[in-house]
């Protein structure tokens, strides 16, 4: 009886030791084996709950923004009527439009991609997608939309994966800056157009760019392209804003405005080998 009471007193500490053991097992090769059955059984329930929550969240946002939607709708109706009148003589040849669309590459050729949906967005600058190891996704895979870089897969489960965005504080990549006048759809070699190199580091809600040449002619609006061996190809990160103008500094700094608002992305593509 006494022994039983004594054990009861120390239950918390015994359980704490058990938790530490679980953490250490999680870090070892056994971690994946333990996670696999739980992911297999419970990931669909989590995905369903998350999707239901997303639709409720969308309705909530729509109700909150209802007045602005009505205003925007009325403005768009007026603009459509105006454009119809202006462009009635300039109708685009449908056949020409179709052939242009066929020739414009949305996805860079030479790779296979897995389309996935974003299940949730975390405050730490990460998103969870609904594709995992059973779809061929691996740690380190690049996530893109067209030629725009979205993130890197940092953790993979059976039916989901965690993608680290450039705004995550652990993200850092080597980049190059090219002029804003460059047509990235036409130019395949950007080496001769590089204004400066730099390094981008995630800072919770923004992307900071550092180590740009002090004598470089970088300007607000220039394109920031990812050129990092871990990524393996040149991808668009965003545009340069807020370039520092401190003449006493040894290098220039600034911020990168991403092409997409990461909160609003619904579908992404994971490049799998």
């Amino acid at each position: 009886m006494k022994k039983g009471n004594q054990i009861k007193k120390y239950t918390h500490f015994i359980y704490l030791l058990f938790c530490i053991v679980i953490v250490l097992i999680g870090k070892s090769f056994l971690g994946e084996s333990i996670k696999y059955p739980f992911s297999y059984i419970f990931s669909p329930v989590y995905a369903l709950g998350s999707k239901t929550g997303q639709s409720v969240s969308n309705w909530r946002n729509a109700l909150v923004d209802a007045s602005s939607y009505i205003e925007e709708y009325n403005e768009m109706k007026e603009e459509i009527a105006r454009l119809k009148v202006e462009n009635s003589e300039k109708l685009i040849d449908y056949a020409e439009y179709i052939s242009l669309k066929e020739h414009s590459a949305i996805l860079k050729s030479g790779g296979s991609y897995v389309e996935s949906e974003i299940l949730s967005y975390k405050d730490t600058g990460e998103v969870i997608i609904n594709k995992g190891s059973e779809d061929g996704v691996k740690k380190g895979d690049i996530v893109v939309i067209g030629r725009v870089f979205i993130g890197v897969v940092s953790n993979v489960e059976l039916k989901s994966a965690l993608v680290r965005l450039p705004i995550n504080s652990s993200s850092s990549f080597e980049v190059v800056i090219v002029p804003s006048t460059v047509d990235l759809n036409k130019e395949s070699r950007v080496d001769s157009l590089v204004k400066s190199k730099g390094v981008v580091i995630g800072d919770v809600e923004s992307i900071v760019i550092e180590n740009m040449g002090i004598n470089s002619s970088v300007l607000d609006g220039d394109y920031v392209l990812l050129r990092d061996e871990r990524v393996g190809q040149i991808l668009i990160l965003g545009t340069l804003i807020g370039v520092s103008k401190d003449p006493a500094s040894t290098h220039k700094t600034g911020f990168v405005s991403p092409i997409f608002d990461y909160n609003s992305i619904l579908n992404v593509f994971v490049k799998v080998e």
Partner: protein, 164 residues
């Protein structure tokens, strides 16, 4: 048999509701449930539930294995210590509960970042305000559950002498 079936179904429903609330309000019902079960159910049952649900949450939320159970165990130890200073039945008995939930929301991202990347995450001021509001709501829910269980106990044991 029915009991096991009901527990299994409740487990899945709790996971669904937890993922729903996390998505809509970033609010965790798990913390409130675990607090309500603390010292109310058998220890073995409690720790089994905590371990299983904690591991499930670690898997679906993509955090390192053991994050949720480690954080909750440390917080329960802190709660026991705080209850030595502030009596449970006193006027300020819910203040330790508030700290418990506040630290839960704070420590989950911190511990998961430290375990996965070894980096301390940046926490914006807006996150602190969000955590404060969620903690207040959680304490409110805990108070309601407390009142409800007390009223159930009082109704059941009207004709019974209780030795405290």
């Amino acid at each position: 048999m029915i009991k096991i079936l009901l527990i299994t179904i409740s487990f899945f429903v709790l996971l669904f509701v937890e993922s729903f609330l996390l998505r809509v309000f970033s609010f965790s019902l798990f913390a409130v449930v675990v607090l309500s079960m603390w010292k109310r159910v058998n220890d073995i049952l409690f720790y089994t539930f905590l371990t299983l649900f904690g591991i499930v949450l670690d898997c679906v939320l993509q955090v390192p294995l053991g994050t949720h159970i480690l954080v909750l165990t440390l917080l329960f130890l802190l709660l026991e210590f705080l209850w030595l200073l502030v009596p449970v039945e006193g006027k300020f008995g819910y203040i330790p509960i508030f700290f418990f939930v506040f630290l839960y929301y704070l420590l989950i991202p911190v511990v998961s970042s430290l375990l996965s990347e070894g980096v301390f995450p940046s926490l914006l001021s807006s996150i602190w305000i969000e955590i404060f509001v969620k903690s207040v709501i959680s304490v409110g829910m805990f108070m309601l559950i407390n009142r409800f269980t007390k009223s159930l106990r009082d109704n059941k044991s009207r004709g019974v002498i209780r030795l405290s």
